[in-house]
């Protein structure tokens, strides 16, 4: 997994709260196989990005010239709520989005971002609102996210501290794979299973 350390990139503001994973990628595109040649980027925000004829909706932010190279999303509360579909992360990552900043995230989606090396940065609602207002005032302006000190620097140069659990931070900084981290504990797992199945043999 590619480590996440520091990123300076174009950021797009999404004002609406509760952007669910059905919005990020409609269910009908989850049946597509994801390969090195065919990513999930065509389906990102599909019903917000395209009209019934498959034409781009000019009013949608990612269709506007300053935001076509967006790598950071600044959202409102409860970003990625709803379905557990990891396709929502695949679509964002394949488009080029590497971080989402929001006051809160849906739990499963938060874990899915971590698992793929995408940063979910938790930042106070009022600071997210300030950033979104600045990004709208200066379309195409950039934000810098530095994971080690947990800082976000807005278009006006002002910095904010964001929250992330230390264990998730370490995984992102080092690009660690969870399966590898679990398998390090294999002897403990096998010992646990012996005790556990002695008590509940019908589970094994």
């Amino acid at each position: 997994m590619k480590p996440f350390t520091k990123l300076t990139a174009v950021a797009a503001p999404f004002d609406m709260a509760n952007i669910d994973t059905d919005k990020i990628i409609p269910a009908r595109y989850l049946r597509k196989l994801r390969t090195a040649d065919a990513g999930y980027d065509p389906w990102l925000f599909y019903d917000m990005r395209f009209d019934a004829d498959g034409k781009e909706k000019p009013e949608f932010i990612l269709n506007q010239a300053p935001w076509r190279n967006t790598c950071i999303v600044v959202a409102a509360a409860n970003f990625g709520c709803g379905s557990s579909r990891e396709g929502a992360v695949y679509a964002m990552m394949d488009w080029g989005i590497r971080a989402a900043i929001a006051p809160s995230f849906g739990d499963i989606h938060y874990a899915n971002e971590i698992q793929n090396g995408m940063l979910p940065a938790i930042l106070a609602e009022e600071h997210c609102a300030v950033l979104r207002a600045q990004l709208k005032a200066k379309p195409g302006s950039t934000i810098t996210i530095d994971l080690e000190p947990q800082t976000i620097t807005g278009p006006d140069g002002k910095s904010y501290q964001f929250d992330i659990e230390p264990v998730f931070k370490e995984r992102l900084l080092k690009g660690l794979d969870d399966v590898g981290l679990v398998l390090q504990e294999l002897p403990a797992i096998e010992a646990f299973e012996k005790r556990h199945f002695a008590k509940m043999p019908w589970i094994a």
Partner: protein, 467 residues
Amino acid sequence: MPTLFEKIWSQHVVVDKGNEALLYIDRNLLHDGAFHAFTALAREGRKVRKPRQQLATADHYVPTRNRDLGIAAVDDSDAREMLRLFDANGAEHGIRCFGMSDPNQGIVHVVGPETGFTQPGITLTCGDSHTSTHGALGAYAFGIGASQLKQVLATQCLWQKKPRTLRITVDGQLGTGVTGKDVILAIIAKIGTAGATGHVIEYAGSVFRAMAMEGRLTVCNMSIEAGARAGMIAPDDVTFQYLAGREYAPKGAQWDAALEMWRALPSDGGAKFDREVSLDGSAIEPTLTWGTTPEEALPVSAAIPDPASFGDANKRAHAESALRYMDLKPGTLLTDIKIDRVFIGTCTNGRIADLRAAAAVLKGRKVTVQGWVSPGSTVTKRQAEAEGLHRIFEEAGLEWRASGCSGCAAMNGDFVPAGMRSASTSNRNFEGRQGKGARTHLMSPAMAAAAAVTGRITDVRTLMGAH
């Protein structure tokens, strides 16, 4: 003085590192959307470590029509490939697999409890957010994405941060026509779609103690719609009677040993929760959603609210956008809203008690709109047919179909056309969820049946006992 959740958690910690724990996963459920995890497993050259602790059933992509044709009933080539991969992955890894023509096929969250695979005191995962359903039997069950699913398959463990606890107590007695669906919609309307984020909910109080297993499964199913990691109900005699004799439930001396363990699971008397919420069950009316998030729900007697009256700016903006999408005006009585489609089924409300409740309203009546019924599992379908429920639905004018996620996930070709308004027993009223441009009102099976009869949102109590 641990809670139900804390007891199960501590019994499954393999390694405790303080700020995270390696949690053992007793059982994992799989469905036909799990191909990403299997593909990653193959790419990394890994095997399924504990095939016997897995159970798979095809649900998201299976057609609900012409199922006797087998795979030929699947029009879409991508969906055919999903179902082919489902069978191939199951066979390759030696996993019990209920394919689309298997007599045990059904929606994963109906099949788990129905087969006794889901049990009190276990940890259970599935690559689906509605895995919270299984907590109704006193399990700690939570949804995961494809990467964590791959980890469970490869290791049977997950690194987890311990969630906080929230007890929701609903005392009193539910009125006539008020069901588990109405209770959970009332709860989500009160605490919000992010009201339980980071928490495990335990549902407590006289309303849940008196509730049959189907109602409890409905309540726990929608815990995720309040953002919860999981929802749980303490196991009791209702749970044990439900499980006794089911295929994968323990038998004989093991059943006795299990019962003794299960009886020790409920939260201790003085157990402390991080948060507490309570509702008066006697005051809950039949409840339905009017907007595009499950928290935008109201009693059937209410009118569409004016977003301008909302104090919270986020909620106001959401409601304005929801009313545009739903094509509704503030002040309109919910019972004046006309509907175009009815959908009864899903992992929320596709169980036998749900079908009986809908059939009780439809018996001897005709529907005035198109709609379909898709039982939660093929076993449930056979049981409903043995009881003659399918004839009641068909004589009323609804289609009786095979089991699958159908119009809830709208991934199998069943959907609500753009601009049409549906009365649906599913769990999500998000924009586009039931099809691009579809307008969804979530409600109980009895309320959906009542809407089917009159062609508009209807208080089911006005149709009860009338004939």
